[in-house]
């Protein structure tokens, strides 16, 4: 053999050996114990694979069909999947649904660990394709197709919470919210084969007691909740949650409430409903006690609002006491700069102010809201370092409150908390049942009996609204309005009797029609009984609204303009001022103290805000000391 060739070959062999050595160490597989725990971590590649759950065995099922498809594409499965995806889009465009669904299966089999594909295409099937059918039974079948698709995906991705999470959503929301929810829910309840199939495929028992509705059949909302619970269990076992902690854990209790609501809508009003609300309330409470890491970086609990407020008050007191002179001096300086007019306006109790005075008063308030840091800087030098420290603590406490509030507002925590509680009391049950019965009687033509029942119902509703004003803004309140309408027609009078128990409620609904779904309003109403146990919401609200209405807005067109209501919590425990009704009047929050500057920041639409200040007994908001 030619010596040059020989030398070259030897060189290649050496190079291969040299290159193989690091590969050997990088790639050596991990050794596992019988229970699956890692005995020896193996090379870097194996470690990375473990860290990212990339091993087939780790990801879920190893499916021969999928593996053979992937082999058949010679490693070009990405390309193949893309082509199939385009094909699927074409089939969807041309409405070849069978082929669409077959193609989707192929795509998923090609890249079974691409979670977004499962999510996206199952939604496609359950929501988009199903809607193309005219017959709701066919639509239901396609909803199930999407669910089946997700179930298949969950088998390939055993550690991904997205799958059960989406399933929870599909079972609950798709079947329970759609226009044909009544039909869907009924079909689902009786779809024994489907329940069985799901259990066969996933071992998820939809027929367990926690999943059964009042008729001892699986309820879609409860089934959805079971999926969420499964997702929660997976997180406990080490998987990452599919959504942010709050949105992730919100769903379980929320679905319980939806279940309760659905049950009431369908006419089950007494004990089962009460039980459902009780369970929901318990879950809601538990959810509130769950630790949430906010996007601001701190950790909060939704239920610790009052604790945080107390903490703030304590620090504030400490701070003001510590700064003493510096604080009063600064404040007096600023007061001295005010005009007499402004002072006069500011001095008036809020309820007595006219609009101009209100604006002025607010300006004064914000002017007098002095940044704690400024106060600290104004302290004598020997105290300054400590003062700054306390100021910082004060700011932290304040931001914690605002974070809790932001998070609570996002999901109307207070409202739902109140709702759960309200639905359990006897007044609620009585109100609902008697109204229901009255309607039934009226349908039957038994007018007198109906009239009597209505009277009972109005009384009960009125009591309920007083105890839980939050009830005035939910769907059942809409039913009340509808029933009141029937009642009015029954009476055959243009106006309701002057002593009609629900006139306050009617007035309220009339004014706030546009803001009922506003989180801020829901929050205020929801937390009202807790924050102001001795004040009647309706009275306060209507008093303020009425005044604002008459003074500012003779035309009714623009009445409902407030879109966010704020409880100035730092001064918690003080009596409320009924909210300003008018937009300009409420142009900004009325911060009674420096602390509210931050609170105001959370007010996303200050021009449309409706503020409930909490100065003591209607006195002008004045910083203490």
């Amino acid at each position: 053999m030619n010596i040059v060739v020989l030398r070259r070959r030897l060189f290649y062999i050496c190079a291969m050996v040299v290159l193989l050595v690091p590969l050997y160490f990088l790639g050596s597989p991990s050794v596992r114990n019988k229970d699956g725990s890692v005995n020896q971590p193996g090379g870097t590649l194996a470690q990375i694979r473990t860290a990212y759950d990339l091993g087939q065995g780790d990801l879920g099922e190893i499916d021969p069909a999928s593996e053979s498809m992937r082999l058949a594409t010679l490693g070009l499965r990405g390309v193949a999947a893309t082509i199939l995806w385009q094909k699927a889009e074409y089939y969807k465009k041309e409405q070849f649904w069978d082929r669409l669904s077959a193609t989707l299966n192929q795509i998923a089999v090609l890249q079974p660990h691409f979670v977004e594909v499962w999510e996206f295409q199952s939604h496609n099937l359950s929501y988009n394709v199903s809607a193309e059918f005219d017959d709701y039974r066919q639509r239901y079948q396609w909803v199930k197709r999407g669910i089946d698709y997700l179930i298949k995906g969950s088998k390939y991705n055993k550690h991904r919470t997205e799958m059960p999470f989406e399933l929870g959503h599909f079972f609950g929301s798709k079947m329970g919210v759609a226009d044909e929810k009544k039909q869907f829910r009924a079909l689902y309840r009786d779809d024994e084969n489907f329940h069985k199939e799901v259990q066969e495929k996933t071992s998820m028992d939809l027929r367990q007691p926690d999943g059964l509705g009042p008729d001892r059949k699986p309820d879609n909302w409860l089934s959805g909740r079971l999926w969420y619970l499964k997702a929660y269990d997976m997180v406990d076992a080490g998987s990452a949650p599919a959504k942010s902690a709050m949105m992730f854990y919100l769903k379980g209790p929320q679905w319980l409430m939806k279940y309760a609501e659905a049950m009431q809508t369908e006419g089950t009003l007494d004990e089962p409903a009460r039980y459902a609300w009780r369970t929901a309330g318990r879950d809601w409470q538990k959810f509130g006690e769950r630790q949430i890491v906010t996007t601001f970086g701190d950790t909060i609990y939704l239920t610790e609002l009052s604790r945080a407020q107390a903490e703030y008050a304590k620090i504030k007191e400490e701070f003001e006491a510590f700064c003493g002179d510096a604080f009063t001096k600064l404040r007096d300086q600023r007061i001295a700069q005010l005009s007499a007019e402004e002072l006069a306006a500011w001095g008036k109790p809020e309820i007595e102010r006219n609009i101009a005075e209100m604006i002025m008063g607010e300006k004064v308030d914000s002017y007098l809201a002095i940044d704690p840091k400024d106060i600290a800087k104004a302290t004598p030098e020997d105290k300054r370092v400590d003062a700054l420290q306390i100021a910082k603590r004060l700011e932290t406490a304040q931001s914690k409150i605002s974070h809790i509030e932001i998070y609570r507002n996002q999901i109307n925590y207070a409202y739902w908390e109140a709702r759960c509680e309200a639905e359990q009391i006897d007044e609620a049950i009585l109100a609902r049942t008697s109204m229901y019965e009255a309607n039934q009687l009226l349908d039957k033509g038994e007018l007198d009996a109906a009239l009597q029942k209505y009277e009972v119902a109005w009384k009960a509703w009125s009591d309920l609204f007083n105890k839980f004003p939050a009830m005035m803004i939910d769907d059942s309140a809409d039913d009340v309005l509808a029933s009141v309408d029937r009642y009015r027609r029954l009476l055959d009078q243009p106006d309701l009797p002057p002593d009609f128990g629900l006139s306050g409620f009617l007035k309220f609904r009339e004014i706030y029609e546009g803001e009922l779904a506003d989180p801020a309003l829901m929050n205020v109403i929801g937390s009202w009984p807790k924050v102001f146990p001795d004040r009647n919401f309706l009275t306060e609200m209507l008093r303020k609204s009425g005044e604002g209405l008459e003074e500012m807005q003779p035309s009714e067109a623009s009445i409902p303009s407030a879109s966010s209501i704020e409880v100035s919590a730092p001064e918690g425990g003080k009596a409320p001022t009924p909210p300003a009704k008018d937009s300009s009047a409420a142009a900004s929050a009325d911060p009674p103290s420096a602390s509210d500057a931050t609170a105001a920041e959370t007010n996303l639409e200050p021009n449309r805000s409706l503020a409930i200040e909490t100065p003591a007994d209607g006195a002008p908001p004045s910083p203490k000391k």
Binding site: R99, Q106, D135
Partner: protein, 603 residues
């Protein structure tokens, strides 16, 4: 499935009126002229003008005067048999094994819960078969001749009195025979696979009404309900309701005075409906012809008519005779309409419509027959021969064939939507009269015949290219033809400019400039632009003519008919056969010329 208008043509309609023959002849003449000119140019370059001309004409002369008359079937048979043996030796039976394995594991990929299981199964086997067989044809035909040249075995052949025609025909026929054998095997297996795959059984689960009705067990993702009745002879008869496109017969036997129920095989899944298509016209809101709306879908296949308005869809059917419809006691009508709701309305009830039968003379019409739309399924309606209607506005009983069919055999079927604010969507093939059924097996055979013809075309092309190209290159060339044949429409769209963005050069310029396809090309230089567009035009017309000559493989694919349960009409098969033969002759001729003028012993 979508039946294209051209698929409804009769054979002679296509051949003569739709210019099928003319097109074929044009392609042949164009190719012949082109071939002659190119060959002459090449020959001239090598031997000079007169010599070149002589050479070209001599080859043509030899074909006609010597080689065609001298062609012997025995030699063709010998060569074909050799090709067959060679193919077998090259382990083509592996393809069969692949097919069998594929079918065995097909269950993994096929979703038995599909609404139309039969369609899924049939599409699967037929697509699988055609891919396999086409690939097989490709490999067989492209490598054989080049291999023979390479291994010089061709020299022992051509030193015998073998004509080039015989070599070409031998190959084509031999490989076709291999393919046919394999395809036949696959066809039989497919038939078995489909008929077995869709077969399922139910048991009776619940009985009600003293055993007069009941429901079945839940199998293959569905369950049926059924009713039984006692017929005139006192026998109990019944069928289940239709689920996923099929019913089961309910057999009732009495044992010890007790009724015992058994359920038969699924019926109606494997059908071969013979449709009689009509011509569709739509009226607008004013009742004038030319209506039809787009309700916002991207696909414009279906046009929509509005409910409770003067809009209607009118189908006119030709040649309506009782003998076409099984004696004509009923007129079987099948619809697959789409409903589109602008508001939810009554969720429980479907959108409603009505059918009116009209004599095209406008004097006689039937009563309005209501129906509820069934989407993405075929709604079968049997209209009895005698029904109430009106003549010149006077209510009377009318007879479909006597009164409603005009003298020249036409009838009109009018469809309207009844619900205000809701719409019906439809295309021409969505409503048809069902003139009986063909058998499924026969229809499947015709479907496989389509695959067979595609295979023959591939083999012809492959052999043709392999007469002057090396094996791999011939395969690439054939593949290209195959792809262009399958995606020819796209290519045609580009070539005819239906696809916006201009021709190749224009697109090439647009890309770096990042101009959108819908914007006019603007280079700020008019003459340059027109030059570019001119050249593009030239390229595109060349492309169009090239594409015209390439067989449209997709066109031969009639698997959809089988899968959707439509009979493949004889004229369609005849048309495809005609085209196959034409391409066979063409490819053989081209092959002959190449082989004849090639030095087979050249290194």
């Amino acid at each position: 499935m979508r039946i294209e208008p051209d698929q409804m043509w009769g054979y002679f309609e296509w051949l003569i009126f739709k210019l099928g023959l003319v097109q074929g002849v044009l392609v042949a003449v164009a190719l012949a002229l082109l071939g002659f000119v190119v060959c002459y140019l090449v020959s001239m370059a090598r031997y000079g003008p007169s010599e070149g001309f002589y050479n070209v004409t001599r080859v043509i002369y030899e074909l006609i005067a010597r080689d065609l008359p001298g062609t012997s079937w025995r030699r063709i048979y010998a060569l074909g048999r050799l090709a067959f043996q060679e193919a077998i030796r090259r382990r083509v039976l592996v393809v069969m094994a692949v097919f069998i394995v594929g079918i065995l594991f097909a269950g993994w990929f096929l979703d038995p819960s599909s609404d139309n299981v039969a369609r899924l199964y049939i599409s699967f086997v037929m697509t699988g078969t055609s891919y396999l067989v086409l690939l097989l044809g490709l490999f067989l035909s492209c490598f054989s001749l080049p291999n023979d040249v390479k291994s010089k075995t061709i020299q022992t052949i051509t030193t015998k009195p073998v004509r080039s025609t015989e070599i070409v025909l031998g190959r084509i026929l031999g490989f076709s025979a291999v393919g046919t054998v394999l395809l036949a095997g696959m066809g039989l297996l497919s038939y078995q696979f489909v008929t077995r795959g869709i077969r399922h059984q139910h048991e009776v689960k619940d009985l009600a009404d003293d055993g007069l009705s009941g429901s079945t067990t839940y199998d293959s993702k569905h369950q049926h309900t059924f009713e039984v009745l006692q017929d005139a002879n006192g026998n109990w008869v019944g069928t289940t309701d239709e689920q996923k496109g099929h019913r089961h017969e309910v057999l009732v036997t009495e044992v010890d005075g007790k009724k015992v129920f058994t359920l038969g095989e699924p019926e109606g899944l494997l059908s071969a409906r013979i449709p009689v298509f009509g011509k569709l016209q739509m009226t607008d809101r004013a009742g004038n012809l030319g209506g039809g709306l787009n309700v916002g879908y991207e696909s414009e296949y279906q046009k929509y008519i509005e409910g409770n308005s003067l809009m209607s869809a009118i189908w006119t059917f030709d040649d309506i005779r009782p003998s076409r419809f099984n004696g004509g006691d009923q007129l079987p009508l099948e619809l697959s309409l789409k409903a589109f709701r602008t508001f939810k309305g009554d969720i429980v009830t479907g959108v409603q419509g009505e059918i009116i039968l009209k004599n095209p003379n406008g004097r006689v019409e039937s009563e309005r027959r209501g129906f509820v739309v069934k989407e993405f399924a075929v709604d079968h309606i049997e209209i009895p021969r005698k029904l109430s209607g009106s003549r010149d506005g006077q209510p009377t009983e009318v007879d479909i064939f006597d009164d409603l069919v005009s003298e020249d055999g036409q009838i009109q079927i009018v469809i309207r939507c009844k619900d205000a604010g809701q719409y019906f969507g439809m295309a021409q093939p969505d409503v048809y009269l069902r003139a009986g059924d063909s058998t499924f097996g026969w229809n499947m055979f015709k479907g496989f015949l389509g695959i067979w013809m595609q295979m023959i075309l591939i083999i012809c092309l492959g052999v043709m290219f392999s007469t002057f190209l090396s094996g791999p290159v011939a395969m690439v060339a054939t593949m290209t033809c195959l792809l262009l044949g399958f995606f020819g429409n796209l290519a045609l769209d580009v070539a005819t400019g239906d696809n916006p963005g201009g021709g190749p050069i224009e697109s090439l310029i647009r890309m770096p400039l990042q101009t959108g396809a819908m914007v006019e090309l603007d280079l700020g230089n008019k003459p340059l632009e027109s030059v570019i567009k001119g050249i593009d035009q030239g390229i595109m017309y060349t492309l169009v003519s090239v594409f015209q000559a390439i067989p449209r493989f997709g066109q031969f694919n009639t698997a959809d008919f089988v899968a959707s349960g439509f009979n493949i009409s004889g004229s369609l098969v005849a048309r495809h056969l005609t085209m196959t033969i034409a391409y066979f002759v063409l490819a053989s001729l081209i092959s002959y010329f190449f082989l004849k003028t090639r030095e087979l012993a050249a290194a």
